[in-house]
Symmetry: C2
Subunit: 245 residues, 2 copies
Amino acid sequence: MTAHRAPEGYDPHAFEPFAVTVDLAVLTIREESLRVLLVERAREPYAGSWALPGGFVLPRESAETAARRELAEETGLSGTTVAGLHLEQLRTYTEPDRDPRMRVVSVAFTALVPDPPEPRGGGDAAQARWIPYGTHAPLAFDHDRILADAHERVGAKLEYTCLATAFCPPEFTLGELRQVYETVWGVELDRPNFRRKVLATPGFVRAVEGPPRLTGGRGKPAALYRAGGATALHPPLLRPEGRSS
Amino acid sequence: MTAHRAPEGYDPHAFEPFAVTVDLAVLTIREESLRVLLVERAREPYAGSWALPGGFVLPRESAETAARRELAEETGLSGTTVAGLHLEQLRTYTEPDRDPRMRVVSVAFTALVPDPPEPRGGGDAAQARWIPYGTHAPLAFDHDRILADAHERVGAKLEYTCLATAFCPPEFTLGELRQVYETVWGVELDRPNFRRKVLATPGFVRAVEGPPRLTGGRGKPAALYRAGGATALHPPLLRPEGRSS
DNA sequence: TCCTTAAGAGTCATGTTGACTATAAAGGGT
DNA sequence: ACCCTTTATAGTCAACATGACTCTTAAGGA
C-alpha cells in the first residue's frame, strides 16, 4: 500500500481540495405518474437547465444529515416530517470533470415522499417542481445518470423489500400500494394476485380496524392498511419480465 | 434551496477542505473460509491495528480508478488482471469524526478475488494478510462497519445476481460454486437442489466441452463450467432462512 | 336503472422449491 | 483386493407460489 491515510504532517490546505456535496433524487407518486423533484438553475454553469436539488456538506455534518437538511429546505416539509421519510444513500459520483468549476464529489441519495407538498423555490434556484419521470429535458451535470440509477435502485428494491409503503401515506389501500408498483415498474399487475401476495407476506401491511372503507373515486370502497414492521419480502415480489441490479 | 453549487466566486482554498479516500473490502474464498485482505497499520492513529486497505483519491482520478489502483498495489496482481476483477462501489462513509486527524470522506468498494495471491506489504503498512472473516480484532476507524456492510451486500447479491462466479477461477465445478454460497452465507445447501437451480437458470453457467472431469480431492470427478453471460438471477436463489438488504 | 370501475373472494394449472433416495466414480485404509 | 468415505449427478414427490381467470359486491355517473 502507498499512503493509506494522511501522513502525520499532512497539511489540509496544501493542495487543491475536493468539495463534497449531496444530490437528492426525491421521488413521489402523483396522478398516476412517478415524479421527481427538480430545480431550475439560476446561474452558470447550466443556467436554465433543470437539476436535482442538493448542496454542500457542511464541515461538521455527515452526508446524510446534509441530505435531510436539504430535503427539508427543498420540499418545505418540517424537520420532524422529514425525519420520518425514507432516505437512502444511492452511490457517490466522483468523475473528475463532472463539475466544470472544480473537483466535486457528490454523494447521491434517494428519498421517497408520500403525498407531495408543493415545493418552494428560492436560493439560487429559479423554481422547483415535481416533474414526471422521463419527461424532462436532459439535466445538468451528471444528474440524468444519478436519476436513472435512483429509478433502477428503487425498482429493484420494490421486488425484495417493503419499500413501497414509503410512497404511501400512513393509511393506504391495497390499490394505492399496487399503483406504486405499477407506476415505478411501468407495468400493470393483476389485482387479485397482488392482493394475495401482499396479504400473504407477514408484516408487509397491517389491516386498520376502524371503518373498513374509503373513497378515492369510483368503485367499491377499499379497506385501509398501515405499513407492517417487516422490511424484507421473502419470497420477493418479482417484476413481470424483469432484470435486477 | 440554499447554495446548490459553488457560487461563482467560490474559492476552493477558503475553508477547511475534505479529503477523499477509498477503502477496499477485498473478499476471497480460501480453504473453506471467507477471507478479507487486511493491512496492519504502521503509524498513528490506530498503529498496530488492522484496517482495510485504501488510500487517497488523486486529483485527476475517479474513486473507481483509485480503488483499482490500490487493489493492484495491495494484492500484487497485474493491472490487466485487476481490470477483470469484480469491483463495486459499496457506499460512502462521511461521519465528521471518523478520522481523528481531519475531515475524511471515504468511498468504500467491495472487490471479489478468485484464487488469492499472497499480498505484498509495504508503504506505511506493516504487513498485509488474508484474514478469515470475523476472526480479527476490531479494525481501525469505522472499518468494522464497512466490512460488515460489504459482507451483507455480497450475501444479498448472491441471491439475485450471478455474482458468485466472481469468486471462482475461469473454470470451476458446481461444487466450488456451491461453496461460495455456503461460505458467504454460512449455511449448507442441498447439492442436488443447488445443481438443479443453477443449471436451470439460463446464462448462469456454461458447460466446458473438454475432458468432463477434474480432481479436487476425493469423490467422483466433476464437470467444469464457465461463467455464463447472465448477470441477474430470475427467479432468485434465496437464502434458507434469510433476510435481505 | 344501467353501465363502468374497482375491491375482494376463489379456482385451476403450472412452475419452483425443499426433502430425500439412489447410483456412479473417485481416494484411502487395511 | 475390498470396504468405507466422499462427492457428483440423476430422479421423485409433495408443498408452495404464481399467473391467468371468473365471479360477486359496492360504489359513482349518465
